[in-house]
């Protein structure tokens, strides 16, 4: 088992679907932050077989809503003094803005300058989001 220092203050993003860690790294703009970040890929998981984990030190100021859009099964542990002080279970957000872009070439968002790329939850059970402008479903796969 790979050993990575535990986080003293920060957060641990757990139960990430194996292979999705880098996607989340970019969604959360972690590449632009100067805090320590550890990415663990293909860790053993009782629930999923294998999973990814991201550990972030000294930074709690993030838009977790976005993570619910990417994968609502992700859990977030807030760490202080090396102990978990809070656990956040994510849910599907009603709306997401400027996270992903509509892939429909006929959508106004493909040409309009400075438009807010917005998706709204259309079907909670099937986790279907639709572009607010053209109703095209966003394929999360």
């Amino acid at each position: 088992m790979l050993n990575i220092d535990s986080v003293e203050k920060g957060l641990v993003i757990d139960h990430i679907k194996a292979g999705k860690a880098m996607e989340i790294y970019h969604y959360l703009n972690l590449d632009k932050m100067d805090c320590s970040v550890a990415i663990i890929k293909n860790a053993k998981s009782k629930k999923y077989g294998k999973k990814d984990i991201i550990k972030v030190e000294n930074n709690l100021d993030m838009d977790f809503k976005v993570l619910g859009f990417i994968d609502p099964n992700i859990t977030i542990n807030i760490i202080d003094n090396s102990v978990i002080i809070d656990k956040i279970n994510l849910e599907l957000p009603h709306e997401v803005e400027n996270v992903v872009k509509c892939k429909n070439p006929r959508c106004i968002s493909s040409i309009e300058q400075e438009i807010v790329h917005k998706f709204r939850l259309a079907d909670k059970e099937k986790e279907i989001y639709r572009c607010v402008y053209c109703d095209t479903a966003y394929d999360k796969k």
Binding site: N104, R106, C107, I108, S109, S110, I111, E112, Q113, I115, A122, D123, C131, V132, Y133, C134, D135, T136, A137
Partner: protein, 307 residues
């Protein structure tokens, strides 16, 4: 209250608001002269980024018959869009000159963007293959005028149900009325999109059936709504040859339809309704075109808050 609102998709309207518009349209039909100067001094901008005959002319005719004036453009080439101007900038400029705007745009969602930036009501006059709410209002007014109700009937929608935006909007709008049964008639490759079937029909427990041939079901219908099936939409020539005649209404097929069925079509038609059917009293498509003007008159009055 509809005053100041925009109409981007049919579901923007509550059932009460929809009924309010249809009721006013009916009153205008009864006495058009009484409404001849209700919009005097008001200006409608028709912003048509792609060509249209019926929709643009019916909007212009509607405003002129209300005593108002009309300005605008009828192609993107004759507007600042040709110079690369955004929809947001165009509408904010137009809003300085007009009291209300109708917009047709090839990009889906463009009228919604316009409505977000405008301080005047914006009416979606068709955005790509997406929505065409005033066609839906037209269709509802036609059914209400000719059948006397918007509930308890069986409607057949026939032709290209996959790409036909008028069909999608009409299904959504009718799904809110009681006891409407849908018969969806199309070749397999042109069936309604999954989201219409799953998120509208199945989710709301609405009775519907999907069939391939019109001649097998025409006798069950109270309303038949035809749309055009283009040859290039078929995956193969063999299917096209096998099915093409099934999507053409002629006197022979009409002889098996109910005596009080109404035959609708958003127009323009090509060959999906034979000219011989035009003289059949059940042919409603030109009445439909007229209803389009009256319902736009009612809509303009309501959105402007004109009494």
């Amino acid at each position: 209250m509809l005053k100041g609102k925009s109409l981007i998709e049919p579901m923007d309207l509550t059932l009460a608001e929809l009924d309010e518009i249809l009721k006013l349209a009916d009153e205008i039909i009864q006495d058009p002269a009484a409404y001849a100067d209700r919009c005097k001094g008001k200006v409608l901008a028709t912003l048509f980024y792609e060509p249209s005959t019926r929709t643009r002319l019916s909007f212009e005719s509607a405003m002129l018959r209300l005593g108002g004036s009309v300005m605008g453009f009828s192609s993107a080439e004759s507007s600042s869009a040709a110079k690369g101007e955004s929809v947001a900038d165009t509408i904010r400029t137009v809003a300085c000159y007009a009291d209300i705007a109708a917009m047709r745009h090839p990009k889906e969602g463009a009228p919604m963007v316009a409505a977000m930036y405008a301080n005047i009501p914006v009416i979606n006059a068709g955005d790509g293959g997406h929505q065409h709410p005033t066609q839906t209002l037209t269709d509802l007014l036609t059914i209400k005028t000719l059948k006397g109700k918007l509930n308890n009937f069986t409607i057949g929608l026939c032709g290209d149900l996959k790409f036909g935006r008028t069909v999608h909007s009409l299904i959504k709008a009718l799904s809110r009325y009681e006891n409407i049964k849908f018969v969806l008639i199309s070749p397999d490759e042109l069936r309604v999109p999954d989201y219409i079937r799953e998120e509208i029909l199945m989710k709301n427990g609405i009775e519907f059936m999907e069939v391939e041939r019109l001649e097998n079901v025409i006798g069950q219908l109270d309303v038949l709504y035809m749309t055009r099936v283009q040859k290039e939409r078929f995956f193969n020539e063999a299917d096209y040859v096998r099915l093409k005649d099934s999507y053409i209404v002629d006197n022979k097929k009409m002889s098996n339809a109910k005596n009080d069925m109404i035959l609708m079509h958003p127009l323009p038609r090509v060959n999906e309704i034979s000219v011989e059917v035009d003289s059949d009293p059940r042919a409603a498509y030109f009445t439909q075109a007229k209803c389009g003007m009256f319902v736009r008159m009612a809509l303009i009055m309501k959105l402007l808050g004109v009494e």
